[in-house]
Structure formats: structure tokens, C-alpha cells
Symmetry: C2
Subunit: 395 residues, 2 copies
């Protein structure tokens, strides 16, 4: 594939548009609410916009002919179409066929193949897909705000957390406010399937957080429970938003399922590597990470794999590691002697490869932009597993 | 109007159905999340179900012929219709006309006027309107959960608050969970207008709460600011859900606007009386209420009116009343000498009358059930202004 390009460079202009729109979308008539809600959308504190990058690339990667543009898209366009005085000939082309009955009822005719119409449909679709990216960022930040209250966190993205700077109350309210603005934006897409997919995500974020907070002892040491929780907390948002991008474009179920599979596996790989980095930080050595999960009693994949080799490690973890340097050292010692880190990286690689395979299974396209975006999505799976920096996954 | 019947008696069976369904809707795979979310839906802690009562009565009150059943309703029914083998004759009656194009494309014919069809449409509509009541109760309880965290409240509806019993974290998550389940239920109605109306409500609840929490000194003593906050915190939910009930039935804009006006004015009257009761409790004498608003520095209508007569009262309130018995006594003294309580009751009465007038402006109907429900809605406006018990308004 030659020199891998920076996957986000393909969409950097659009990322700026989205960033500006996000700042505009969270303005409230109550100044304090605006300040709290926009806190993480401010220039320099926006995070890596990983989710938006994926969603924009996915939008282009799926920019292939679909059987029929979805009704909501046609409806969203109908005003614009009428303003263009576009008229439909007999017999209609496939695209014109897809136009609303109302439009055809006007018995109007087009002299030439309607490229303006195709352009208008494609611009409108792109705007709707960008909106999914915006909604995804709002859901993500809302969950960060509430998680930071729950964890009593002091910092986030290198600056003071909202709960610390403005108080828990405002952090809770700002999270609720972002959720409500995201729901209003979602409703404006007029796609019931997308509203369903994305509402389910909010439920998953909450479910994952609660699973983590209320584990029984057996659940805490179960790999299955860990993976389920990881799906809810991290992978559901990106997988369902990827699927939404496909649904908005009117793709058939199989294509939407591939978009979902990409997002799910990328999200799982992302979190598995994040869990490794909690132990190793940017270096490859144990104990160089923040160790924040284990200090909070959260048992992640590296430890779970290590316990398969050293069952006695479970007892150490059960005794508690917070404020217990001897136990932390002991646990890290077991982990270092085990293949826990390696197996976690292998599992992440497996999911990254599944994500790449989903992209490779998409219907073929000769379009240069489509191919570039697919390559970038595949490159991203590699960026994720070679990641060296903790990201702001909700944890 | 003779002996006023208990307005909720007309819908008590349906209230039980809704209560059962609410308990079923908040079940989660995570036990602790279920416990927290169902806390206020449990038998005996359900509150007075004031909002559900209003919405069910409104549904019946609007049970009059509409120009055309809305598309989503027809779509929701189409499976059921097909299962009935209902077939459409030529020329179609008005109701059949309204059936989906798909159905007509089947070139099927009905021998008799389709009363089953009308019944099916009306049952489906009622189920959808009940769902608005369920969503409204979920939004309401979600806002109670978060408000109790914000206020650090100890009790609610006579039992320990969720934050007190299960911790702030679970109360925040349970509120988020209810919001997400409500959004999923909302999406299932497949009505973009209703999704928009109801998402806006969540934003209003948050805005109202933040307005109360972050007032400048001038805003705190402004009647206009108080009324705006009261609309957001209390009246938006009931007014927009009343409107949603009308929109689901396919009523024209004017009828939907009357439903909205009823809810808005009823909600404002309700809150104004609640604010009086905070001073008087069940008796008519000052200081018998919980005085919780004023102790928390929240200035409500009675005080605002009193300050118009005694500007020096503002200074007393500004000095703070919490843990300051002398100042509380002084403030109550000013209030007692003023017409603050009386003017607040008058304002509540004005809004209650506006609510009743909205019902009287609805299109006439000879149907007995419709008339009974309208009478009950009008009676409710009187129940609200003669109210003697603090209710669980979010405050």
C-alpha cells in the first residue's frame, strides 16, 4: 500500500466544519450551561476526533450506488429540488424514479440527465452523515461529563474536568443538555431507524458504566463480562454510528452490517490497547502507565489473561491495590511473568483484522475517493493497535 | 356540571396498565440499574400520576374525526391490517383512502364498511398515546433523579431518595438510563414531529434547572425570569406531551395548539400553587409549609409579589435565610402583610382558567366519552388551584 497517509488528512477540512458546528450547537440561553457544554469542544481541547474521522471516512467509503435513496433523504431535499425547478421526463432514470411521488405528480420534465439533482442528493446526504458525527461527539462528551462526576475525576484531556472546574451539578446538567441537543439533532434526520440505533447507544453507555460499577466478584474476573462491558462502554457508539452512516445512505442490510462490524471491532481493538497502555504507558515496560484502572479496582484484559496462568493473582487483586504499593508491585510482577499483555495485544490485533476484513468485503468500487477512504479506514485499524497514547475513552 | 367526579377515575384502569408497563420498560440486564430505575415506579411510590391522567383524558377529549390518520399510524397498523385480510373496494371510503399505497397496490376489496379497520386504527392510536404518557413519566422521574443529586435531597415521595439509598452515581446513571429508554420508546412511535417535541422537553428541563442554579441577582428577583424558568422546569413537559397526543391523532395545528395551551397553563397554575404551599403547607397560615424554596435561596412568586409592595424585603432575602431564623421570620412577616400569596393564587387561577378555556375551544363533539373527559380536564384545573398538598414537581 506504499507510505501510509495520515488517515485523518483526507477529512481535515470537514473535521473543522464539524468542530465549528458543535460549538454552535451547544449554545444555550443560559451562559453557564453553554460554558460547561462547550468545554470539550473548545479549540485545543477537542481530543483527537477519532470518531468523527472514522465516520467521515466511512461515509466516503460507502459512496457507491445504492438501490434507492431513502425517503427521508428525498423529503429533506424536496424543497431544494423544487427550488431548482427540476422536472422529470418519461421514462424516468433510476434516480428520478426514486424521487417523491409528489414531485412526479407535477408532470414536469428534465431535458438532460439531472446531474444537479445527483449533486444535490449527495450534498444533502453528506450533511446528514456529518450530523451523525456531531451527534456521536455529543454523546461521547456527555458520557465523559457524567463519568467524570461518577469517578470524581480531576483532569480530562489535559485540563481540569468540568466537575472540578464548575462543580458536579453543572457537569451533570451539561451532560443532560448535550444528550438533549443530540436527540433534537437526531430527530431532525427524520430516520426512525437511525433514531433507534443511536438511542440504543445511550442505553449501552449507561449499561456499560453500571456493569463496571456494580460487578459481583465472579463478574469482575470474567473475560466474557469484560468484553460485554467493553462493547457497551466503547464499541457500541462507534459501531452504531458507522451503521447509521450506511443506513442514511440507503444501503442494504448487508452493507450496513459491514459498517457496523468495522466500528465494533475497531472499538474493541481500541479499548484493548487502551487497557494495555494503562499498564505500559508510552513505553513497553510495565508500571509506566497510569495504572488508573487497577488502582480503581477495574480488572481489564491483561490481568484477566494473566490470572489464567497465575490463579493466585486473583487473590492479590481481591485484597485491593489502591494505596497498597506492595500489592501493586506483586500484581505487576505476576503480569510481567505472564503473557497477559501479549495476549491482549493479540486479541486487539484479531479485532483490528476483523475490522479491516469488513472494509475489504464492501461492494467493489473504482472511485478514487472511495478507495482512498477505505485504505485510510484499514490504516486506522493499524494505527489503533500500534497506539502509544492513552485516549479519552470513557473509563 | 353537577357533582364533580374524580378526574382520574375515568382512566384508572389505563393508569394501572401504564404503571405495569413502566415497571417492565425499565428492566435492565444489570440488576442495580433496574433497582434504581424502577425505584419510583414501584407500587405505592408512583406518585399521583398526574401527568398520565391528564394525557389519557386529553387523548379521549380529542377523540374526534380527523381529516386523515397520520402516515406513521397507518404504517404501524399495516402488519395488523394485512393479518386481517382486509381488502379495499373501489371507490375507497375516506378511511380506506388513507391506507398505505402498498395496501391498495394489492387490488384487494372489502365487502362491508371496515369497522374492524376503524377499531384497529383507534386501538393502535390509543396504544401510541399511552406510550406518550409512559415517556412523560420516564422523563419526569429521570429529572427527579438528577435533581435530587443536584439538591443532595434525602427524601422523595415519602421514601429515601435514590441518591441517598444507592449513591449519587447510581442516581445519575439511572436518570440517564430512563432518558435513553424513553428515547428508544419515542423512536418507536416513528413520528418525527413528536420526537422533536419531546426531545425539546429534556432540553427545557435542563435549562430550567440551570436557570435556577445560576441566577444573577437581578434575574433572581425578576418575575419574568421566574415564569420562564417555571415553564421550562414544570410546564414544558406537560404542554409538549399534550401536544404530542394531538399530533399522534393527526389533528390539525389549531387543535394541537389548544392541547399545548391547556398543558402549559395547567402546568404554570400547578407550580404557582406549589410555590404557595411551600409557605403555607396544608393550612392557610404562613410558615406551615416546608419553606424549602426560600431556605435554598429560591425566590418564588409569593415573595416576588411581596417585594413589589415592600422593596426592603429584597435586602432581607439577599442577606440569606438559610440558618437565619430571624431573617426567615422577618421575611414571613413582610409576606404576611403583603398580598403576595393572594396575588400568586390569582395568577394561578388566571392560568387555570386559560387552560379550561382551551378545552372549551376544542371542536364540538356529541360523544359522551369525549364530553366526560373534557369535563374532567376542566375539573382538573380547579383541583390544581385548590390543591393542598405539595406534589413532586421538580424543584
Amino acid at each position: 500500500m506504499g507510505e501510509p497517509l495520515d488517515p485523518s488528512s483526507l477529512v481535515s477540512d470537514e473535521l473543522s466544519i464539524i468542530a465549528n458546528r458543535l460549538r454552535a450547537m451547544v449554545v444555550s440561553e443560559v451562559p453557564k450551561l453553554s460554558s460547561a457544554a462547550e468545554y470539550f469542544f473548545k479549540m485545543g481541547v477537542e481530543g483527537k476526533r477519532f470518531r468523527s474521522t472514522v465516520l467521515l471516512l466511512m461515509s466516503t467509503a460507502l459512496n457507491i450506488t445504492v438501490p434507492e435513496p431513502p425517503t427521508e433523504l428525498q423529503e429533506a431535499l424536496s424543497t431544494e429540488l423544487r427550488a431548482m425547478h427540476i422536472t422529470v421526463p418519461e421514462p424516468p432514470t433510476e434516480l428520478q424514479e426514486a424521487l417523491s411521488t409528489e414531485l412526479r405528480a407535477r408532470h414536469t420534465t428534465v431535458p438532460e440527465p439531472p446531474t444537479e439533482l445527483q449533486e444535490a442528493l449527495s450534498t444533502e446526504l453528506r450533511a446528514r452523515q456529518q450530523r451523525i458525527a456531531e451527534i456521536t461527539e455529543m454523546f461521547h462528551v456527555a458520557s465523559l461529563l457524567h463519568d467524570d462526576v461518577l469517578d470524581d475525576a480531576d483532569t480530562r484531556r489535559g485540563v481540569g474536568s468540568v466537575n472540578r472546574e464548575m462543580g458536579n451539578k453543572l457537569a451533570v446538567l451539561a451532560g443532560d443538555f448535550l444528550l438533549s441537543r443530540a436527540c433534537v439533532a437526531l430527530a431532525s434526520l427524520r430516520s426512525t431507524e437511525v433514531v433507534s440505533l443511536m438511542s440504543r447507544v445511550v442505553e449501552h453507555l449507561v449499561t456499560g458504566e453500571t456493569m463496571q460499577m456494580t460487578t459481583t466478584s465472579d463478574q469482575r474476573f470474567s473475560m466474557e463480562y469484560y468484553m460485554q462491558k467493553t462493547y457497551y462502554k466503547t464499541a457500541s457508539l462507534i459501531s452504531n454510528s458507522c451503521k447509521s452512516v450506511a443506513v442514511l445512505a440507503g444501503h442494504p442490510t448487508e452493507v450496513a452490517a459491514l459498517a457496523y462490524e468495522y466500528g465494533k471491532n475497531l472499538g474493541l481493538a481500541f479499548q484493548l490497547i487502551d487497557d494495555v497502555l494503562d499498564f505500559t504507558g508510552t513505553s513497553a515496560s510495565l508500571g509506566k502507565g497510569s495504572l488508573s484502572d487497577i488502582r480503581h479496582g477495574i480488572v481489564t484484559a491483561p490481568m484477566l489473561f494473566a490470572m489464567e496462568e497465575f490463579p493466585q493473582l486473583r487473590t492479590v487483586v481481591e485484597q485491593g491495590l489502591d494505596n497498597n504499593p506492595a500489592n501493586i508491585e506483586l500484581a505487576l510482577n505476576y503480569l510481567g511473568r505472564s503473557r497477559g499483555i501479549r495476549k491482549t495485544r493479540e486479541l486487539a490485533t484479531k479485532h483490528a483484522n476483523l475490522a479491516a476484513a469488513a472494509i475489504k468485503s464492501l461492494p467493489k468500487s473504482e472511485d478514487e475517493n472511495v478507495r482512498k477512504s477505505r485504505t485510510a479506514l484499514i490504516d486506522l485499524t493499524q494505527v489503533v493497535i500500534t497506539g502509544t497514547k492513552k485516549r479519552d475513552a470513557p473509563s
